[in-house]
């Protein structure tokens, strides 16, 4: 049985937010809820990297451990899904998740949050596959249609990969091997250095990045 995973290649992500848009469009997600987001580290500084992140479908999921009504379950493919009919909107999964995956439609007074919503790896929920009820609560079930997650399929640079862990590992291993083997040490075959040139070592004393940040 496959073990589904996401993998984001920091050398390839160009922060286009195509995955975020693809996800919102595919599942008709309401305003204020973002199942996926792109975070940029050292924005505007040479050496900046971007990572796209959503639910990582953990093997030992913290959300599952802390949920007071046990509404989470793991599919045979290792995808962590939840039952919105059981969810009470307490927010514990949001406290526990390292990746900020659980989303709530509201953050109102008296702890009124609504039902939790998160990335389903485009695998729907406990309702019948591709039923209206499933679409309304969890979005499209692409896996049941034989497709992979929309975000990864949409990724222009193939930075974001989604699929069987073994296949993903093979692809990534090949990438890493070729990155080192091809090209020259001063100019790898592709990636940030090829696109923008190799960053120079910071001159001492270096100017703070972003200027206005500090």
């Amino acid at each position: 049985m496959a073990r589904m995973k996401f993998l984001c290649d920091a050398e390839r992500c160009i922060e286009c937010n195509g995955c975020v848009t693809a996800c919102k469009q595919e599942h008709d997600i309401p305003w204020g809820v973002n199942r996926r987001r792109v975070v940029t580290i050292n924005d505007g500084v040479p050496g900046e990297r971007s990572i796209s992140v959503a639910c990582m479908h953990c093997s030992d999921a913290p959300c599952m451990a802390v949920c007071p009504v046990d509404c989470f379950y793991r599919t045979e493919e290792g995808i962590v899904l939840h039952d919105k009919d059981l969810c009470i909107g307490c927010g514990y999964c949001f406290y526990a998740c390292p990746f900020g995956a659980p989303q709530f439609p509201q953050a109102g007074a008296f702890g009124v949050r609504g039902k939790m919503d998160k990335c389903t790896f485009c695998a729907g929920g406990p309702e019948a596959n591709n039923s209206d009820a499933e679409y309304k609560k969890y979005g499209r079930n692409r896996l049941a249609e034989g497709k992979l997650p929309a975000c990864a399929e949409m990724c222009a640079t193939k930075a974001l990969l989604g699929g069987d862990s073994d296949v993903l590992s093979d692809i990534y291993r090949e990438r890493v091997t070729n990155r080192a083997a091809r090209g020259t040490p001063s100019m790898p075959p592709w990636g940030w250095d090829t696109a923008y040139g190799r960053p120079e070592a910071p001159k001492q004393p270096a100017a703070p990045p972003g200027g206005a940040k500090s």
Binding site: G47, P62, D83, C97, G100, R179
Partner: protein, 355 residues
């Protein structure tokens, strides 16, 4: 949104209790300097060893806010590591807290079966004393109803997954949990009024003296029917006042407010700390409250009348609160003896043990 008066008050509360440590740390210059340092490391790393993003991953794990176009709470933090700590800390708290609750309830049940209701050794008299005024009793009843509701719903939410869910199944337990969560969240803020009201009404009876320590030293006598003389309130009641009401209930109100108003954009680490404080305070307070409720109802004959009618049998007062009774006899106390028939309410006589 942050400039509303409630927001400012809530913000001040957080600061006062150091709950905003995470927020403050994220905004202090030291962390920004760390970020600058890591950015420079990444730059140097790329010059000497392209494709090695170790400084970037280090920066991500440090929890420093980054840049994102997606709006929402803490969307600019890629990985928050303290969630794992919170998850791990909850387990022993729920285990020991649940055990404490089970032992308290079980211990009281066993005590009741062995000892039964503790009664006075003398016959009920003709005179009664007004122990608590209506205002005292209203304050206490508001507190009692709200507090017990919160205790029961809180226990359902924290221990229900282990205890109730296997018994009643997912669907029914989810309905129960929704009910419990909403009762807890909407009734909880009543304590903002109930706790200070209760403190104001009862603090006059709860001064501490050396006799209270002696009372605890003679605790065995209390259960044998030979109580160490106490004033209007005995040391056990004073412990409930100071620890359960003043310390723990206040802690529960403050930490509960942090959790129940997520609309003020408090960070996850703030809410994790508040949740841990809330859980520990709640389990200790619930265990003590169980003993308090037992002794006030089933445990000691005639005590419940003080809370129900306000009047207690004079022999009850003599037996359980001798110093107070002496004060009433000597006319030093605010209260006076009233003939049973003259009392505005029918006072149930304390059950007397056949001598």
């Amino acid at each position: 949104m942050r400039s509303s008066p409630i927001g400012r008050t809530a913000g001040a509360l957080f600061a006062a209790l150091s709950f905003a440590a995470g927020l403050a740390a994220a905004q202090s210059p030291a962390v920004v300097a760390k970020e600058v340092d890591l950015a420079q490391q990444q730059q140097s790393q790329q010059a000497v060893q392209p494709l090695n993003n170790q400084p970037v991953w280090k920066e991500i794990r440090s929890g420093v806010p980054q840049i994102t176009t997606v709006q929402g709470r803490e969307t600019n933090i890629l990985i928050q590591s303290q969630g794992e700590t919170w998850r791990a800390v909850r387990v022993p708290i729920a285990f020991w807290g649940g055990l404490l609750f089970a032992l308290t309830v079980g211990g009281l049940a066993a005590f009741y079966m062995i000892r039964g209701t503790m009664s006075t050794q003398v016959k009920p008299g003709d005179r009664v004393i007004e122990r608590l005024t209506p205002a005292d009793r209203y304050a206490h009843w508001l507190m009692a109803i709200v507090w017990v509701t919160l205790g029961v719903t809180g226990l359902i939410l924290s221990l229900g997954k282990s205890v109730l869910l296997p018994l009643i199944g997912y669907t029914l337990f989810s309905w129960l949990a929704v009910l419990a969560k909403n009762l807890h969240n909407f009734i909880g803020p009543v304590l903002i009024v109930a706790v200070p009201w209760m403190i104001v009404r009862f603090i006059r009876y709860n001064g501490i003296s050396i006799d209270d320590f002696r009372w605890f030293a003679h605790l065995r006598g209390y259960f044998k029917g030979e109580e160490y003389p106490s004033g209007k309130f005995n040391a056990g009641e004073k412990l409930v006042f100071w620890l359960v009401l003043v310390v723990l209930s206040t802690t529960l109100v403050v930490s509960g407010l942090v959790l129940v108003f997520p609309n003020f954009d408090q960070t996850r680490s703030t809410m994790q700390v508040a949740n841990v404080v809330h859980m520990i305070a709640a389990y200790v307070a619930i265990a003590l409250a169980c003993v308090h409720i037992y002794l006030g109802t089933l445990g000691v004959s005639g005590t419940y009348a003080a809370m129900r009618d306000g009047y207690v049998d004079a022999t009850w007062a003599e037996h359980h609160h001798l110093r107070w009774y002496e004060d009433v006899v000597a006319g030093r106390a605010r209260e006076q003896f009233v003939q049973r028939e003259a009392a505005p309410v029918a006072v149930a006589a304390a059950r007397a043990k056949p001598a």
